[in-house]
């Protein structure tokens, strides 16, 4: 028996496939959203970039301030 493109089997499974696709898209969206939230929770990320930036230098201790 040949399954034609319009076979009833395809119609029945169409809804299921669309549902699975929607779940996968939703899951990807959640992963993306979580990544954005987790990264931005810690504020802007900065590292050494060949020039000295004062905001990256540790604050002096009280003893150092006195001297």
């Amino acid at each position: 028996m040949t399954l034609r493109a319009t076979h009833e089997l395809h119609e029945r499974r169409k809804g299921r496939n669309i549902g699975v696709a929607a779940l996968l898209v939703g899951f990807a969206a959640i992963l993306f959203g979580l990544s954005v939230v987790k990264v931005s929770e810690h504020g802007p990320i900065q590292r050494f970039d060949h020039v000295v930036r004062p905001e990256l230098v540790p604050a002096p201790t009280p003893a150092e301030t006195e001297n």
Binding site: H7, R12, R13, R16, G19, V20, G33, L34, V37
Partner: protein, 316 residues
């Protein structure tokens, strides 16, 4: 020739499963209770959590609960088939194969625990994993078929969600989380025993050693009363913890008064009396028990909202 003959489906399979059938495996009604109690547990914690983290964490707790429901349906398919209340579930009704329920349950368990670890923290994920294990293995595979105390100890599985919600926010378990756990834990036995009183044939036919089957109705009625007394003491006492407040206190006083009255009525009557009015008192008590839990957690949320708005600052 039907298309189902192409597959090596189990003989009980009546048709190709739809997405809805897989969703039904997750016990949506239980999931809604899990979502609500876990959300309250998270929101009453004194820690601000990003709304997206709240959304995703609650979603993965719900998926974890659903996964344990699917594992339960895989294991209990033989019991579900016999009981009128559960005979239309996807596996006994032949809509989904038992192996598919097992696969879905295991897959979603792994996914939900991993994702909760990423979304919230490792402690919350560990509690979720333990909850799934407790419900699927300790309750479904062991206690349910072996002891009339099945509901008492197994009720712990349903009591974990608010605790997990709290751990999502704070990272650890504290007294408040234990109190919310205890509230559901103590509520479960009277809730299920009331159901068992008017579903008596179901459990005995399935060979499940519910208290009503092993010890009879009179003992079950006594148990309902004393568990309700303990529950009421705990529920009202919770009002004076840091998560309690005026709204919760008023709610607890009214609802526990009604609950005690219902439990007393159940205790004081006999089975012939109950059969004469088609278990109306027991059915009313069961319906009240659903409202009881919903309103207690709703009141906790209301007091937490008052505190956040600065309208309530605690008892001291």
């Amino acid at each position: 020739m039907s298309d189902t003959s192409f597959h090596n489906a189990s003989p009980a399979r009546v048709r190709d499963p739809e997405l809805r059938d897989y969703f039904d495996l997750l016990k949506p009604r239980v999931m809604s209770l899990v979502v609500f109690t876990a959300l309250v547990g998270l929101l009453v914690a004194p820690v601000d959590v990003h709304p997206f983290v709240i959304f995703s964490s609650i979603l993965f707790i719900a998926i974890g609960a659903g996964a344990s429901g699917a594992l339960n349906m895989w294991w209990d398919a033989d019991i579900d088939e016999v009981m009128r209340r559960t005979s239309r579930r996807p596996v006994p009704a032949g809509r989904v194969g038992a192996g598919e329920a097992l696969g879905l349950g295991l897959g979603l368990s792994l996914l939900s625990v991993m994702m909760l670890a990423l979304s919230a923290n490792m402690a919350a994920a560990a509690w979720l994993a333990f909850t799934i294990f407790f419900y699927a293995v300790i309750y479904s595979m062991w206690l349910k078929r072996s002891t009339p105390q099945n509901i008492v100890i197994g009720g712990a599985a349903g009591a974990f969600p608010p605790m997990i919600g709290w751990v999502v926010a704070t990272g650890s378990v504290s007294l408040e989380a234990v109190l919310m756990f205890a509230l559901i834990f103590m509520w479960t036995p009277p809730h299920f025993w009331a159901l068992a009183l008017f579903m008596k044939d179901d459990y005995s036919k399935a060979g499940v050693p519910m208290l009503t089957v092993t010890h009879g109705h009179a003992v079950t009625r006594t148990h309902i009363w004393w568990y309700t007394v303990a529950l009421a003491t705990l529920a009202v006492g919770m009002a004076f913890s840091t998560i309690g407040g005026p709204i919760y206190l008023a709610t607890a006083l009214v609802l526990n008064g009604m609950f005690l009255k219902g439990a007393w009525a159940i205790w004081r009557r006999t089975t012939p009396e109950a059969e004469a009015d088609n278990f109306s008192v027991e059915k009313r008590f069961f319906r009240l028990s659903l409202l009881y839990l919903f309103l207690h957690f709703g009141a906790l949320l209301a007091d937490a909202t008052l505190a956040r708005l600065g309208l309530w600052g605690g008892w001291l």
